[in-house]
């Protein structure tokens, strides 16, 4: 069952045509990854899905698993997406530095009113990232890069999204933390959440992904299952160091 279907997405920044006719489909329960070099347009795709950049497309349809209703999310403002069940852990983490860890997480649950459910999810996030629990009263700005990344992912989970989008979750992390983050991505997916993952770390992303798209100068150049792309000689040469 499709969750997100995009046909011919285009994004322009002034004269720069950053995304060219990108089409992609995300099925329920999948981890889909978008890989590509710096500047290939990966973030633009994910940001246009979230409604943060102006985009054109033939269609951009989200089908909520909650009620099986399909809605067009093209051109809708960002604040409506999270109510539909889409959330984003943005590139650069974008945690709020002067708010505490717990306040950042509560902000992620802003649209919800079920205080029991929020408390439950707070515990769930703390069980995924025990370090956040230790630092719950600390300001976001005092966290290390890895902890901030965990907070950004945790905050995106707090809205109980059906589609979780992660933009470069491994960027700037020590290798041991990268493994941990990808382990957690698998765990979140195993609990039934669909994930769209944008990554420069193609090897790690392809290993966890059910389906992958390779973006080159704004257009999809290749797509297939994670395993297919891992073994594709072109992908190996370009992104996996031979």
């Amino acid at each position: 069952m499709e969750m997100l279907k995009i046909k011919n997405l285009n994004v322009n920044y002034g004269a720069i045509h950053a995304v060219r006719d990108v089409s992609l489909t995300i099925e329920r329960g999948e981890i889909v990854t978008l890989i590509g070099a710096n500047g290939a347009g990966k973030s633009s795709v994910i940001r246009s899905i979230m409604g943060l950049v102006k985009a054109r497309a033939d269609e951009m349809i989200f089908t909520s698993p909650r009620d099986d209703k399909s809605v067009s999310i093209l051109g809708k403002p960002a604040e409506t997406h999270v109510k539909l069940g889409i959330s984003l852990s943005p590139e650069g983490r974008r945690i709020l530095p002067q708010l505490t860890v717990e306040e950042n997480l509560n902000l992620g649950a802003y649209i919800r009113d079920d205080s029991d459910g929020i408390a439950e999810d707070l515990e769930y996030v703390y069980s995924l990232f025990p370090r956040l629990k230790e630092r719950r009263k600390q300001k976001g700005s005092t966290l290390s890069g890895g902890e901030q990344q965990m907070l950004a992912v945790g905050r995106a989970l707090m809205s109980r999204p059906d589609l979780l989008m992660l933009d470069e979750p491994s960027l700037g992390l020590a290798p041991i933390l990268v493994d941990e983050v990808f382990g957690i991505i698998r765990e979140i997916n195993a609990q039934g959440r669909t994930i769209l993952l944008v990554e420069q770390n193609a090897f790690a992303a392809l290993k966890v992904a059910h389906k992958a798209y390779v973006l080159e100068v704004g257009a999809v150049s290749l797509s297939g299952t994670g395993a297919e792309l891992l073994n594709n000689p072109k992908v190996r040469a370009a992104y996996l160091g031979g």
Binding site: M50, L52, P77, A78, E79, T80, H81, V82, K83, S87, L88, P90, R94, L96, P97, Q98, L99, E103, N106, L107, G108, Y110, I111, S141, R155, S159
Partner: protein, 298 residues
């Protein structure tokens, strides 16, 4: 200085300072979120004073009703200012909104001259607020002098509770750091901005009403000087910080009243002290007492 006189100066300073503080809070909230100096804020304060004047003195409504109506009317005006003069400029360069703010300020002042006439009108104070209370040690206080700081502290306390203990407060603090990320969390940014304008205007209305009672008259330009001084108080306390604005207001009130109390010959320079203070802060501590360093802001 006799105790009696000192206590009276102290209460005066507390009263004046908390009025500056109440107005300063409105500047600081809007600045914190939009990085905009809402020059019309002093004029919103003036509208609060006029509305209560019309409600209670012209239309003879009871004070309690008049005060509530004045607060509601002023809040609506504050929201309209945001809707008409600032909201269309959210994506425009910051200087455009600043110019718009100056325009709105002139507009409200001159509109007030046309509608209310430029003539100052006397405010009849309710006698219950003016009946001096005499203490055994000779200290005499009027109830109004105590009422003003009490009301101001309660309101600022309530505002802090809202900012730090409620969801809209969390959203307001979040927006001041990163609007885009806050939107992504499902926050309707324009509603939260309107809330900040509404709360700031309501507090300015209360300050305007109490100002009109203390200096018993209203006139269309009465918001200019207190508005500028409250702005100085907000900068002094650290613009963007609500407790800072209140502290800045109180300190400014004390500087003004005490300088005149101890050096009566300098009374002509009363207003100059506020600006001297502003120059000194900007030279030596531009982030103010409780202000954050700018580089911390994303």
């Amino acid at each position: 200085m006799e105790l009696n006189i000192f206590v009276q100066h102290f209460i005066n300073a507390l009263s004046l300072g908390s009025l500056y503080g109440l107005v300063a809070v409105g500047y600081t909230m809007v600045y914190g979120i939009l990085r905009l100096i809402n020059f019309a804020h002093g004029d919103i304060f003036m509208l609060g004073a006029y509305f209560v004047y019309f409600a209670t003195i012209v239309y003879k409504l009871p004070w309690a009703v008049g005060v509530v109506l004045a607060i509601i009317g002023t809040t609506v005006c504050g929201l309209l200012v945001d809707r008409i003069a600032y909201k269309p400029l959210r994506e425009a360069p910051r200087i455009s909104a600043l110019i718009s703010a100056i325009g709105v300020s002139f507009f409200i002042e001159n509109f007030a001259v046309v509608v209310f006439t430029g003539m100052p009108r006397p405010v009849v104070q309710p006698p219950i607020l003016m009946q001096p209370i005499e203490f055994s040690n000779g200290v005499r206080l009027i109830p109004l002098g105590i009422l003003v700081p009490v009301v101001a502290f309660i309101l600022v306390g309530a505002l802090l509770w809202l900012l730090y203990r409620t969801k809209p407060g969390l959203a307001m603090r979040a927006i001041s750091f990163d609007i885009e990320t806050t939107r992504m969390m499902g926050v309707s940014v324009n509603k939260i901005i309107a809330l900040a304008f509404g709360l700031g205007s309501a507090l300015a209305a209360v300050a305007g009403i109490m100002w009109a009672l203390r200096y018993p008259r209203v006139e269309p330009f009465m918001g200019m000087t207190p508005g500028i001084k409250a702005f100085i108080a907000a900068v002094f306390g650290g613009i963007g910080s609500v407790p800072g604005a209140m502290i800045g207001g109180l300190l400014l009130g004390f500087v003004e009243i005490m300088s005149v109390a101890f050096f009566p010959t300098l009374s002509g320079y009363k207003d100059a002290f506020a600006f001297l203070l502003l120059i000194l802060i900007l030279l030596f501590r531009p982030t103010g007492l409780l202000g954050e360093k700018l580089e911390d802001k994303i």
